[in-house]
């Protein structure tokens, strides 16, 4: 018989983990069972069974708890932590300073980090995100005429699906405003008009209904969960009918699906959607097959084994085959933008969803890092300074045989202990301050937690711990024991690195202060700049067109007719004055743009606003030459137009009054006046050519292309002089019901809308202010700690100086001067840095402030004053102390 043995390595494993007191018996029993099993037959089975038993025996009660397992590293960590805890407890002041600084720094990092993360996480929740692209269209013609847009012609969906095997499918995403509901409670809703396959391409969660056949029918409707609740309460919405008015016809749509609310971080967003089969009713047949009219966003899903570059390579030829008779090579370009690229890529025009500003995200990311770095530097400088007091401790440890490695180990334990506590504090602080932060910055940041974040947090702890702890640990452990006890260990080197860190920290603080000041000045400048118009206490009320109208001119006309009725009623109120109407009002971005090519083949592009004769008065727009509209004149109503100065320049008109626009396709019109330039969009942009008219029809006849992102349906505007702003609502609600009972009343103050144009800058400024305040606090904590340490170190020197006869003021000067050059250096170094970054930021604005020296000076002065206030108290106290108290005790 072959002598079978249990597997050797299983035995070794057992011997490794098992408590030796138990091992002999346990192993013996296992052997017995093994041989027993072996007798029954199969040796392999017996061996496997033995292995199984060894693994099963691996229990807490059997694992050795003897000294072998406790190697020195683990043991020392425990003791290191215990000692660290004692040291931290003994130095409550520094522990407090360090904890506060780090906790604030990490909190700041968290808050801005969450914000940045949110911006970066747009559209990341789709499983197929890497295969989804949005289609853009760029038409480039001679004479610099370029149309670039990420909304595309309606026929693109079928064109792309039919001609390219690389695409699994293409989907349209569009939005329109329709009146939804029945009777007098109709609401003007933004309704998505989408391809039915949208739910197969994008991962919107379907809560009710069958994912496979959503929106299959022309009259099918899908709702978001919150909209299903809004319209149908807690009942199941599936199968219910919801009337929507489309092109003047009220149609019952049947709810076939409910999807979970689309997250904020999505470029595609809608709360209700119908199938794009309805396009037949929405557009005239020509538009459906038009290559040059852009309407909707088109997204494509690339097949799993295909690559978008194949399409990009061939699409030009395919297009030329189809429409080569109408365009030249290189004029009609189709491109694809990755889905995840949409939110933060400003090179491609905005589609339906607003995009973020990548430079703001980058700036914030950098700032949050800077603040964190300041906090780390703080810790490092404070620890190094404090190390002066601990040289004896190092000496004793070294004499006892401590290696340098284990000393570093010990100091790092101290750092990590502090950082873990600071981290926990910061988490709590972040949680508590998040509502305030959101309020302050107008952001909508949420804390979300996933399991892998634990790794992230641990990583952060380690990085922060090493950055702040490694330098002090090295400095502390550097000296030899003999040096220390011989007494030559006190002052070591000039500590350039430490001083450099103070300078750097100060540089960051001054940079943040100056940047905040500069941004604030630019914002104030924009919000207070004379726009050339009067818009104080002006209310804007969007009107509604007659739903049956199809042409733009008719839509504007019918809405103004309704507006006239409302105007009559409102004019009876004494506090309402200067009533006017216009297709666009101030504070709304995206006034209608018309373009055409004139007889000399020059491409002309201008903006246009359709108004009633009172509009110019309401906003106090000044007429420079000629005259304004005469309310009585029928001629004015039909064909008079007014240009702004920029338009006169654009059209190159020498003597505009009484003349016409260049080009011969326009209807009857004549220029009757010239308005002073006024700014009708935000100050990001320069003033563009504008035509003011009461009737857009003659101009429309001569234009090739119309584009607007603000609704061209007129708004009624009036000045409200009542003392209570809340009464506006009462007045409007009362009169609105009589004139337009079926529509929803919306109104806003123009001042607010103007401010909203700078929301991004405002938010940025607020975020920066928060970061600045926090970094000032951190820097002050650091300075305070440094001062106390330096003063402590110089106590004897001060005492002796005083005995010899130094005055209090000269001592004070001496102490202050030890910091002042570091502070000044920080201020000076920050200037070029700030100048470079802020200049870059200001380039975004057509109207901007100059970066004058006074802003930098102010930033520097503020920071120096704050720094001096921080250090003065302690230095003063030190310079006033009684020398006898110090020198006596030796």
């Amino acid at each position: 018989m072959i002598n079978h043995q249990p597997p050797k390595w299983a035995d070794r494993f057992l011997e490794w983990y098992c408590n030796p007191d138990l091992l002999e018996d346990l192993q013996g029993d296992l052997y017995e069972v093994f041989y027993h099993k072996l007798d029954q037959g199969n040796p392999l089975q017996a061996r496997l069974y033995y292995l199984w038993l060894v693994i099963r025996s691996f229990r807490y009660s059997a694992i050795k708890r003897n000294s072998k397992l406790k190697n020195t590293t683990l043991m020392m960590t425990k003791s290191n932590l215990r000692i660290a805890l004692r040291i931290l407890k003994n130095n409550k002041f520094y522990t407090g300073l360090n904890l506060a600084g780090l906790a604030i720094g990490i909190t700041c990092f968290f808050l801005t980090g969450f914000y940045v993360k949110q911006e970066l996480s747009y559209d990341q929740f789709h499983a197929k995100k890497d295969r989804i692209y949005r289609v853009w269209l760029k038409e480039i013609y001679s004479d610099d005429k370029v149309f670039f847009s990420s909304t595309t012609p309606l026929l693109f969906e079928t064109f792309l699906e039919d001609n390219f095997d690389e695409f699994e499918t293409a989907v349209q995403v569009d939005h329109n405003n329709y009146l939804v509901g029945s009777g007098t409670n109709r609401i003007n809703e933004n309704v998505g008009v989408v391809s039915p396959e949208i739910f197969k391409v994008f991962d919107f969660k379907i809560e009710k209904g069958n994912k496979e056949n959503l929106l299959q029918g022309k009259r099918d409707l899908v709702l978001s969960a919150s909209y299903a609740k809004k319209y149908f309460g807690e009942d199941t919405a599936i199968g219910e009918a919801l009337p929507i008015e489309i092109q003047g016809e009220i149609i019952d749509f049947i709810v076939t699906g409910v999807f979970g609310d689309i997250p904020k971080e999505s470029s595609i967003s809608f709360d209700m959607a119908i199938s794009n089969e309805n396009n037949i009713d929405l557009y005239d047949p020509r538009a459906l097959n038009h290559w040059f009219q852009i309407r909707t966003e088109t997204y494509v899903l690339v097949g799993e084994n295909s690559h978008i570059s194949n399409v990009e390579a061939t699409i030009g030829d395919v297009v030329m085959n189809l429409i080569g008779d109408r365009v030249n090579e290189g004029e009609y370009n189709i491109g694809f933008q990755p889905l995840t690229d949409i939110h933060l890529n400003t090179d491609i025009p905005v589609g339906r969803a607003p995009v973020g500003n990548p430079s703001y995200v980058a700036i914030l990311g950098v700032i949050s890092l800077l603040v964190l770095v300041t906090a780390c530097i703080n810790y490092a400088t404070l620890s190094v300074c404090q190390s002066l007091k601990r040289t004896k401790e190092v000496g004793v440890r070294k004499v006892m045989g401590a290696q340098r490695k284990s000393l570093i180990h010990q100091y790092l334990s101290e750092t990590f202990l502090i950082i873990v506590v600071a981290f926990a504090l910061a988490l709590g602080l972040t949680y508590l301050s998040l509502p305030v932060f959101n309020e302050l910055t107008n952001a909508d940041v949420r804390i979300d937690f996933e399991l892998w974040h634990i790794g992230l947090y641990l990583g952060l702890i380690i990085i922060v711990g090493l950055t702040s702890g490694i330098y002090p640990a090295i400095v502390l452990s550097r000296q030899g024991a003999t040096q220390i006890f011989r007494g030559s260990g006190g002052a070591r080197g000039k500590q350039y690195l430490r001083k450099g860190m103070v300078v750097f920290q100060f540089l960051i603080t001054v940079f943040l202060i100056s940047s905040t000041l500069i941004m604030r000045k630019q914002l104030n400048y924009m919000q207070n700049k004379d726009m050339g118009i009067e818009y104080k206490a002006t209310v804007s009320v969007p009107l509604y067109r007659d739903p049956a109208t199809r042409s733009l001119a008719d839509a504007i006309r019918t809405a103004m007719e309704k507006g006239e009725l409302l105007k009559e009623k409102l004019s009876l109120y004494p506090e309402v004055s200067d009533i006017g109407m216009g297709s666009h009002v101030f504070g709304d971005p995206g006034w209608a743009t018309f373009s055409y090519t004139d007889d000399t083949q020059t491409f002309r592009e201008f903006r246009i606003v359709a108004v009633d004769p009172h509009y110019l008065n309401t906003f106090d727009i000044k007429i420079k030459k000629g005259k304004g509209f005469d309310p009585e004149s029928e001629l004015d109503k039909r064909q008079s137009i007014i240009l702004n100065e920029a338009a006169v320049k654009h059209f190159g008109l020498k003597d505009p009054i009484g003349n016409q626009l260049p080009g011969n396709k326009f209807g009857n019109h004549s220029i009757i006046g010239l308005a002073e330039d006024f700014n009708y969009s935000s100050l990001h942009n320069a003033i563009e050519p504008l035509i003011i008219t009461q009737n857009v029809q003659p101009i429309l006849e001569g234009t090739d292309d119309v584009n607007f992102s603000d609704s061209p349906i007129p708004k009624l505007v009036f000045r409200y002089s009542g003392s209570e702003l809340s009464k506006v609502q009462d007045i409007l609600e009362k009169e609105w019901k009589q004139v337009l009972p079926e529509e929803e009343l919306n109104f806003s103050f123009i001042e607010e809308n103007m401010r909203a144009q700078y929301a991004n800058e405002n938010r940025m400024n607020r975020l920066l202010s928060v970061a600045t305040v926090l970094s000032i606090v951190i820097a002050c904590l650091g300075l305070l700690g440094l001062t106390v340490l330096v003063v402590k170190g110089k106590e004897k020197e001060i005492g002796i100086r005083k005995v010899i006869g130094a005055s209090e003021s000269s001592i004070f000067k001496l102490l202050i001067s030890s910091f002042s050059w570091q502070l000044l250096l920080g201020v000076f170094l920050s200037i070029p840095f700030t100048y470079w970054l802020m200049n870059d930021w200001l380039k975004d604005f057509a109207y901007r402030i100059d970066l004058s020296i006074d802003l930098f000076a102010l930033g520097g002065i503020i920071s120096i004053v704050i720094a001096l206030i921080t250090i003065t108290f302690h230095t003063l106290k030190a310079s006033m102390m009684n020398p006898a108290d110090i020198i006596r005790s030796e």
């Binding site: 002999e24 018996d25 192993q27 029993d29 296992l30 052997y31 069972v33 027993h36 059997a62």
Partner: protein
């Protein structure tokens, strides 16, 4: 004083230790249980229970002589301690008292 209770498997092992009287070690306990209850247990479970019982003071152990079939390793023999005997008695009493309270009706039926 905290009342010490024992679980079902613990009770079974404890009874086996008592009944084997001096010959009780993990393998024989395993066999006794198998013989009486037809339950095939894992030897590691027996070890774990034995360690627990010893910690609770219900059994005591002594190392026996070496045998060849165990690779020269000694056996660890277990005997029931006073406390172990007491806890078994208590458990039995509780069971018998409750058992006697079962109404006969249910088992004899109505016929």
């Amino acid at each position: 004083m905290k009342r010490t209770t024992i679980g079902e498997l613990e009770e079974l092992v404890l009874l086996s230790v008592g009944s084997l009287y001096g010959q009780a070690y993990a393998v024989t306990i395993l066999e006794v249980i198998k013989e009486h209850t037809q339950r095939v247990l894992d030897i590691t479970a027996i070890h774990s229970v034995l360690r627990r019982l010893e910690d609770k003071g219900f059994i005591t152990s002594t190392m026996g002589g070496a045998t060849k079939e165990r690779g020269g390793r000694r056996k660890k023999f277990f005997t029931l301690s006073q406390a172990g005997r007491r806890v078994l008695d208590e458990t039995m009493e509780v069971r018998i008292a409750l058992y006697n309270k079962l109404p006969k009706l249910i088992f004899t039926g109505l016929s």
